[in-house]
């Protein structure tokens, strides 16, 4: 046999290609900012942008968890209901007066939220992995369960933090700031940095992508597919808990309708951010960008006075489709 050199003139394209896909959401965000400026000059005021980013925190943080679940090849439709459920239990605990000192009570309540979030995530994870039910259906069922339990806990009404002092103590977690940066914004970026580190720099993160990319290959490589997926759901649950921790001080109360449709928003943020729903790709910063885009679209609608409020939903839908088209066009370059 003849030994001849492989022709490498057309070496395969490398990770460079992905850069465009990673940048696309940011381009869409930039275009949106420009659009916003023309809709209403107030839009680019620091006060407004701070507001918008601050309140995108819930979806952004939940969507970080969704990025894990989705890139591992799963899906979680129960997160909105989970927010309501965890928040209700957290407030009920705060109202129980189990801990006398307000500060300690607050910390205990936050811990409880994290534990509950992780437990809910674990439940979702086990049902889809061990129970082998399609994530779509399994988490839709869990959505019904969490939401139903919340309705029952609240007896159809709302659950409100009763202790004024506690509420005042807690308020700054949403309304406070550090050197002018609102705490929720700090939480977004800290959580995202952590999520990015775990996904991109650790063994577990690598396994998440492998499992989402090709389950069988992961299994052959000695990766426990079920464990990786289940942990992804637990991470999602923890993210929900973090979102709850900054959500509760904002309104000081929840009801059975809290978080309705947040799951769709979180998934939209993830996809707009460039993560594919089929799994195997995860873009943490894209997700954050996607969450900002969603919130900004709503904000622009509200600030501009041209659009009949009946049509807001329609325009939002159209903008999301256009944003995705812009992305696709950029990526085809």
């Amino acid at each position: 046999m003849n030994a001849v050199a492989t022709d490498t003139t057309k070496a395969p394209r490398t990770s460079k290609d992905w850069d465009m896909a990673a940048i696309a959401p940011f381009v869409a965000l930039a275009l949106l900012l420009v659009l916003g400026y023309f809709a209403n000059p107030n839009f680019v005021s620091v006060a407004n942008l701070t507001n918008v980013i601050t309140r995108s925190a819930f979806i952004a943080i939940i969507a970080l968890g969704a990025t894990y679940v989705i890139s591992s090849g799963g899906l979680d439709l129960s997160v909105g209901a989970m927010v309501a459920f965890v928040a209700s239990l957290m407030i009920l605990f705060m109202n129980s007066g189990a801990v006398a000192d307000p500060m300690l009570m607050l910390i205990a309540a936050m811990m409880l939220a994290l534990i509950l979030g992780a437990a809910c995530g674990l439940t979702n994870g086990l049902i889809t992995t061990v129970g082998k039910i399609e994530p779509f259906i399994a988490t839709l069922g869990m959505m019904g369960i969490y939401r139903g339990l919340t309705t029952w806990l609240s007896q159809g009404g709302s659950i409100t933090v009763r202790d004024r002092e506690l509420q005042q103590l807690y308020r700054p977690v949403y309304f406070g700031d550090v050197f002018g940066v609102p705490i929720p914004i700090i939480v977004i970026f800290v959580t995202a940095a952590l999520a990015a580190f775990v996904l991109y720099r650790t063994r577990y993160g690598r396994h998440v992508i492998a499992v989402g990319s090709n389950e069988e290959v992961a299994r052959y490589s000695g990766i426990s597919v079920q464990k990786v997926r289940t942990i992804a759901y637990v991470i999602q649950g923890l993210c929900v808990a973090v979102a709850v921790i900054i959500y509760v001080p904002r309104l000081g109360s929840t009801s059975a309708t809290t978080g309705i449709l947040w799951e769709l928003q979180a998934i939209t943020a993830v996809v707009v951010g460039g993560t594919a729903l089929r799994g195997g790709v995860g873009r943490i910063w894209g997700t954050i960008c996607g969450a900002f885009i969603l919130e900004i679209v709503g904000n622009i609608m509200l600030l501009s006075n041209f659009v009949s409020e009946y049509l807001i939903g329609a325009i939002q839908g159209a903008i999301i489709i256009i944003a995705m088209l812009v992305q696709r066009t950029l990526m085809r370059k």
Binding site: S154, G156, G252, S255, A256, G259
Partner: protein, 297 residues
């Protein structure tokens, strides 16, 4: 007349038109916004709708960013919006709260409170049923699991207190005609004898009536709805046996609040305190007073 040109911006935050009653709210808010702006030159009224408490909190923030002098708000869920309203109030703006009151409802959070009366809506219906058919067996179709629904239920229970009216069942119909149809069909299967249906909302009454007429059941004496939609008021006016009364819960209350607020700025009348609107019982006799054929609701 210098004051006439005074620049005033009033922000109005109301729920999105997601069923008949809220559609009525939006209709009246828009209608009065135009009227007021035509009346006062410097006045700007911005009406914004939101689907849920979280996005309404956002909308309130966004209105504040635009620089409002007064906020008129009909909160989707008052307890969840206290903080957002509080912020506006703390900035020294005039706040008019409409319809739904949070658990703490005093001067610290609003200047004006214009309210329909949710407990009364239930109570009036309950009293009517207790009086007309004292031994009725009643099925109830609730709305969505949120506080106003709970208030109406509690009011109803209070209204029938001491009578022999018996509640067979209460289930959620989600303020949707289709869900009410489904729930009513199942009630009809489940209970061989039903005297009265209370469904606390006229939208749901549409589904209930269809389910009853399909089943050809004659045991049901009548249906009590609520809110006062034009279709149901019409039925009452026409003397429909199945719909003898309706309990008023006028979506126009938001308009009242807006007018009062604007009046505070331009007419130099001090405006504050509580304006509670009645949950009037609409009967064949007074129905024509409440019939607005060109409202969407």
């Amino acid at each position: 007349w210098a004051q006439e040109a005074k620049k005033v911006t009033i922000g109005v935050s109301i729920p999105a038109a997601d069923h008949g009653w809220t559609a009525g709210v939006v209709f009246h808010a828009e209608r009065v916004a135009k009227l007021l702006m035509a009346e006062h030159k410097g006045l700007n009224v911005i009406v914004k709708t939101s689907a849920d408490p979280a996005s309404q909190a956002n909308a309130v923030q966004d209105l504040a960013v635009q620089g409002i002098d007064a906020l008129v708000i009909l909160p989707t869920d008052p307890d969840q919006l206290v903080s957002a309203i509080q912020q506006v109030k703390d900035d020294g703006k005039f706040v008019a709260l409409v319809d739904r009151a949070p658990s703490v409802n005093d001067n610290t959070i609003r200047d004006l409170y214009v309210a329909g009366n949710n407990p009364a809506l239930g109570e009036v219906a309950g009293q009517y049923i207790a009086k007309t058919t004292p031994e009725a067996e009643v099925v109830i179709i609730r709305g969505l699991p949120i506080p106003i629904d709970q208030q109406r239920q509690d009011g109803f229970d209070k209204g029938i207190e001491g009578s022999k009216v018996k509640i067979l069942d209460r289930q959620y119909g989600n303020w949707s005609r289709d869900d009410a149809f489904r729930v009513m069909q199942d009630y009809l299967t489940k209970y061989p004898k039903i005297d009265v249906v209370w469904c606390q909302d006229d939208d749901m009454a549409v589904g209930v009536m269809e389910a009853i007429s399909q089943a050809n059941r004659t045991d049901i004496k009548y249906v009590v709805g609520g809110a006062g939609s034009k279709d149901m008021i019409k039925k009452v006016m026409d003397g429909d046996k199945m719909m003898p009364v309706d309990v008023l819960y006028p979506p126009a209350m938001v308009a009242t609040a807006m007018q009062l607020t604007a009046g505070g700025f331009y007419d130099q009348v001090p405006v504050s305190g509580n304006y509670i609107l009645d949950a009037t019982l609409v009967t064949k006799d007074n129905a024509k007073d409440f019939y607005f054929p060109d409202s969407p609701f």
